[in-house]
Amino acid sequence: MAVRKGLTLTDVLITVVIGFVFAVIYSLWGAIYTVLQPLGLHLNELAYGMWFIAAVIAYLILRKPGVALLAEFAAGAGETIVTLQFDVILIVYALLQGLACEIIFALFKYESTKMMTAVYAGIAAALITLPIDWFYGYLAEVATWNIVLMFSFRIISGALIAGVLAHLIYQALRETGVLKFVGKRKLNHDEGL
């Protein structure tokens, strides 16, 4: 089989399916996120990092350009399909968060699988949507301590969930052996699995 550059159909399909697995998880996670909301103390922001874990994991598995963006878009679009709510904000956010991860991974030339790379991507994705939240939620009009709390919770969550947790999942997934045939490590025969 000739080595082709870029994403093959199999790559795309695997990425989208990873995205959809997380779409199911996101839908369940949404319940946790909502339960944490009513106090208004931004405890829900501690769960925020989950929303861009799909991008990081898809990148760690395939390590090709465009994968993070595609996976996050699939997860966001998939969530609207699973919960039957077409949500423009959700898809725009998913695209932006995927893009933020993509930029970080491009800086590492799509090579690094270190935990710190994932952590940086998680933080970048946590930061990128803050400007939109600022205008949408009138954050300038909230008490300062409340804002600081929200921002720090979100960044911590991005680093811990989308960074550390994503990397743990990647390591465990590598041990199962399913990654032998996907992405850059792909072997030249199509048996096994």
């Binding site: 795309v12 995205g19 725009v92 949408y136 009138y138 199509d190």
Partner: protein
């Protein structure tokens, strides 16, 4: 699945999915830029009525959806109601400080969410998933490998959900035998994710190889379903413009509350 809970079809069913998505983005911008709570109130109200009439969904199902929208909307505005800044105090308890200004701002944020949710529900109830990807391929020249990957992967979502339920049941049966940490907490979460992911990657890989063999690849092709822009798209765009204009005028003329800027 939607067909079973639909009573009738309207022109929105025939509107191109791309038009709806594009309008959705514009509506998001409009809602973010709208600072007058009166205007936003009329906008969300008209959107609610339009959604109920044009979606054609049975009222029983609509009622459930609407209750969920209101609960989620209220939750997402709590931070502003409780901790927003303002002059006129209504209620104070510890850190919680509800003022007239923050209450109005909270309701404003909730109405933003509701307006978008109503529109989103209208889109979901009137659009076939395959049509979205076909019109992206035909009208937007999206590469077929992306569109077909999405369409194939959507069919796997029920399998993924089914696998998750099976995993839960298997754990329930084995609960007395295994350590608690494998069921709940981070360890339990990781094992769940690994099971779902590894199975899905295997399945996707096999399907990918099969689809590549059948030439589901880029290149010139014909399409089984045809999508196009039509007069219904014009009608849909006109309707949204009229709604925005009417709510703008109503909000300026008939003030329900004497606040014209939520900021």
């Amino acid at each position: 699945m939607l067909e079973q809970i639909k009573n009738y079809h309207t022109f929105v069913d025939r509107t191109n999915p791309l038009t709806k998505i594009f309008i959705g983005i514009l509506l998001f911008l409009l809602v973010v830029l709208m600072h007058n709570p009166n205007q936003l109130f009329y906008l969300s109200l008209i959107m609610l009525i339009i959604m109920i009439i044009l979606s054609g969904i049975r009222l029983r199902y609509l009622a459930v959806v609407l209750v969920l929208f209101f609960v989620f909307g209220a939750f997402s505005a709590m931070y502003m109601v409780f901790y927003g800044t303002g002059e006129t105090t209504l209620f104070r308890f510890g850190l919680i400080h509800v003022t007239e200004e923050s209450l109005i701002r909270g309701i404003h944020i909730m109405m933003r969410g509701l307006t978008l949710s109503f529109f989103g529900a209208l889109v979901i109830f009137t659009t076939k998933l395959t049509d979205i990807f076909y019109s992206m391929m035909i009208q937007l020249k999206l590469k077929p490998k992306f569109a077909y990957s999405f369409m194939a992967a959507i069919r796997m979502v029920p399998i993924i959900a089914g696998e998750y339920m099976m995993l839960r049941q298997a754990r329930k049966v084995r609960k007395p035998l295994i350590h608690k940490k494998h069921i709940s907490g981070i360890k339990g979460f990781i094992t769940t994710v690994i099971t779902l992911l590894s199975q899905s990657i295997r399945r996707a890989y096999r399907l990918g190889v099969a689809m590549e063999a059948k030439q589901f690849d880029d290149g010139p092709r014909t399409y089984y379903y045809q999508t196009a822009f039509s007069k219904y798209d014009v009608l849909f765009v006109m309707m949204i413009i009229v709604i925005a204009f009417v709510s703008f005028c109503l909000g300026t003329e008939f003030n329900l509350i004497n606040v014209t800027d939520a900021r």
